[in-house]
């Protein structure tokens, strides 16, 4: 691994020279390091770039790290990672991607992650995206596909921390009976950056539940587009919330859609887009913060 990958791993995956559980580090389109453990088997896909990750029943809280790093321009990396989580298994999966450019050429990483959770499985999925380097265009296009079996639970914490010029973020999920999906998205765009975020969640089983909260900050001349579509095909509950802080000439649009195809599907959407409230800044200033410190504190809290 090169030093840029090392820095990305620290920021994106909590790496401190090593990982405690199973892991695979992808660097510039190739596997740099990989390790399986008794409960987590990681194997390269045949015929496709990417991995099959099998988390076996009996796994209890292992942390599985599969970060991907692009550390130079001129690379267009595409990876297919499939996660098969056995019945009742519990694990934390850390993915995330860093893209660094410094030779004037654009770079991109597209990660297609599919999750297949068997009944009763529980996964916490943490995904952070970051761009660093020169002014060359950096793109990260994550696609997440989730299938939750009966009673399975997945909590997805996804964040774009900055430095990403173009992002096309797509998440699709199908929930079985009693399955629960929690999504927390945080998104920051600045300058001329553009980000699209698209969630499609379908609840097919009785007692399924989804709670989707997206918080974003758009600064400068950046553009953001949020779209969510939640469909309830059974007695279920769905909540989506889109909050965006807009600064400068940035633009944000939000398009929520709810479809109840069953009389006992209870679906709610909330959305708020606007500038930082003046009274919030005044309150923090009465505590001794400057205008700039107050704005930074509000944004930091909003995105945490």
């Amino acid at each position: 691994m090169n030093s840029i990958t090392g820095k990305f791993l620290e920021t994106l995956a909590g790496w401190k020279g090593t990982f405690s559980g199973a892991y695979s580090v992808r660097e510039n389109g190739s596997c740099a390091e990989m390790r399986s453990t008794p409960f987590v088997e990681i194997t390269p896909k045949s015929g496709l770039s990417g991995l099959d990750i099998r988390i076996l029943p009996g796994c209890r809280g292992e942390v599985v790290a599969v970060p991907a790093c692009v550390t130079q321009g001129g690379i267009d990396d595409l990876a297919y990672n499939d996660f098969y989580v056995g019945a009742g298994a519990e694990a934390t999966i850390i993915a995330g991607c860093g893209v660094h450019t410094e030779n004037g050429e654009p770079a991109r990483h597209s990660g297609i992650h599919r999750f297949f959770l068997e009944p009763g499985a529980k996964v916490k999925y943490i995904e952070k995206h970051l761009g660093t380097g020169d002014a060359s265009p950096r793109a990260i296009d994550p696609e997440t596909v989730i299938q939750l079996g009966e009673g399975a639970q997945l909590e997805m914490d996804t964040a774009q921390l900055g430095g990403v010029d173009r992002a096309d973020r797509r998440t699709k999920a199908v929930l079985g009976a009693g399955a629960r999906l929690v999504i927390r998205e945080r998104l920051l765009t600045e300058g001329q950056q553009q980000a699209k975020s698209d969630f499609v969640v379908q609840m097919d089983g009785e007692g399924a539940a989804v709670d989707l909260v997206s918080r974003s900050v758009a600064r400068g001349d950046s553009r953001q587009s949020f779209r969510s579509q939640i469909t309830g095909n059974a007695p279920c509950t769905g909540h989506s919330e889109c909050d965006a802080l807009v600064d400068g000439n940035a633009k944000v649009d939000a398009t929520p859609m709810l479809s109840a195809n069953h009389p006992d599907a209870a679906l709610i959407h909330e959305a708020a887009i606007g500038k930082i409230a003046g009274e919030q800044i005044v309150k923090l200033r009465t505590l001794g913060l400057t205008q700039e410190e107050a704005e930074a504190e509000i944004v930091r809290g909003f995105l945490e």
Binding site: V282, R285, T286, L287, G288, G301
Partner: protein
């Protein structure tokens, strides 16, 4: 500690709200400003905190003219202000807000002690976000705690009783009394609440944009209570100010 000289302020529609207010608040005491609704009490508090600027007049803190200082500068001079209607913050936990107020990291014990003063359990609330998940009364108490956390010298509370239940209110009274006992600090409350008026060292009645009455609580309070009187039908005490 605090001196206001001939303060005038008008609303955007031109209505004169404060019309030449002069007052002094000394350190080591508790001063309560009271008076009818629309009398300019909240405006006065905002002028002291720097949230609003007077049309004319001067504001002095410890002899220094702070009239031209902005909100941040006044806060750093030691002016602490609890808003009548607290602000909510998505994503900022109670503990973080208290640390911002204190200007330093706080231990769990310190956070619990602050929240306990306003009748909240620290363990239950320090991790909660200061957002809509808190009730009106809870957020009001957090607001008061942010001011109690500050290392200031002038503590200004605008209607601290609003939204506070009776049990927590007793604790709040104790907190104000301990703050009053600090000789280097001044406590200025805006209130209509009888129990707060009762613990005041001095009461200032603001009416029609002017100081209508001022004096020691034992002298002013009976006049205010007499003014309210009792209802002939139900026997309950009438409001002091209509």
């Amino acid at each position: 500690m605090l001196e206001l000289r001939d303060i005038k302020w008008s609303a955007p529609d031109g209505t004169r709200v404060l019309d030449g207010v002069d007052l002094t608040v000394k350190s080591g005491g508790l001063t309560v400003i009271t008076g009818p609704n629309g009398g300019g009490k909240t405006t006065l508090a905002k002028l002291v905190a720097g949230v609003e600027a007077p049309e004319s007049g001067r504001i002095l803190l410890d002899g220094d003219d702070i009239t031209g200082l902005d909100v941040t500068q006044r806060a750093r001079k030691g002016v602490c202000f609890a808003f009548q209607q607290p602000v909510r913050f998505k994503g900022i936990p109670v503990r973080r807000l208290l640390e911002l107020a204190a200007g330093e990291s706080l231990t769990e014990v310190q956070v619990c002690a602050l929240l306990n003063q306003v009748g909240l359990c620290g363990q239950e609330y320090m991790g909660r976000q200061v957002d809509a998940s808190l009730s009106g009364g809870e957020i009001k108490r957090v607001e008061i705690a942010t001011v109690l956390a500050r290392p200031g010298k002038l503590f200004l509370f605008d209607e601290p009783e609003a939204g506070i239940d009776l049990w927590s209110f007793s604790g709040l009274i104790s907190a104000f009394q301990s703050l009053r006992d600090r000789r280097d600090k001044a406590l200025l409350l805006i209130s209509h609440q009888e129990r707060i008026l009762e613990i005041a060292d001095e009461i200032i009645v603001l009416s029609g944009g002017k100081v209508a009455q001022r004096g020691p609580a034992p002298e002013i309070l009976p006049q205010l209570m007499g003014k309210g009187g009792h209802c002939a039908d139900c026997g309950k005490r009438k409001a002091v100010f209509a």
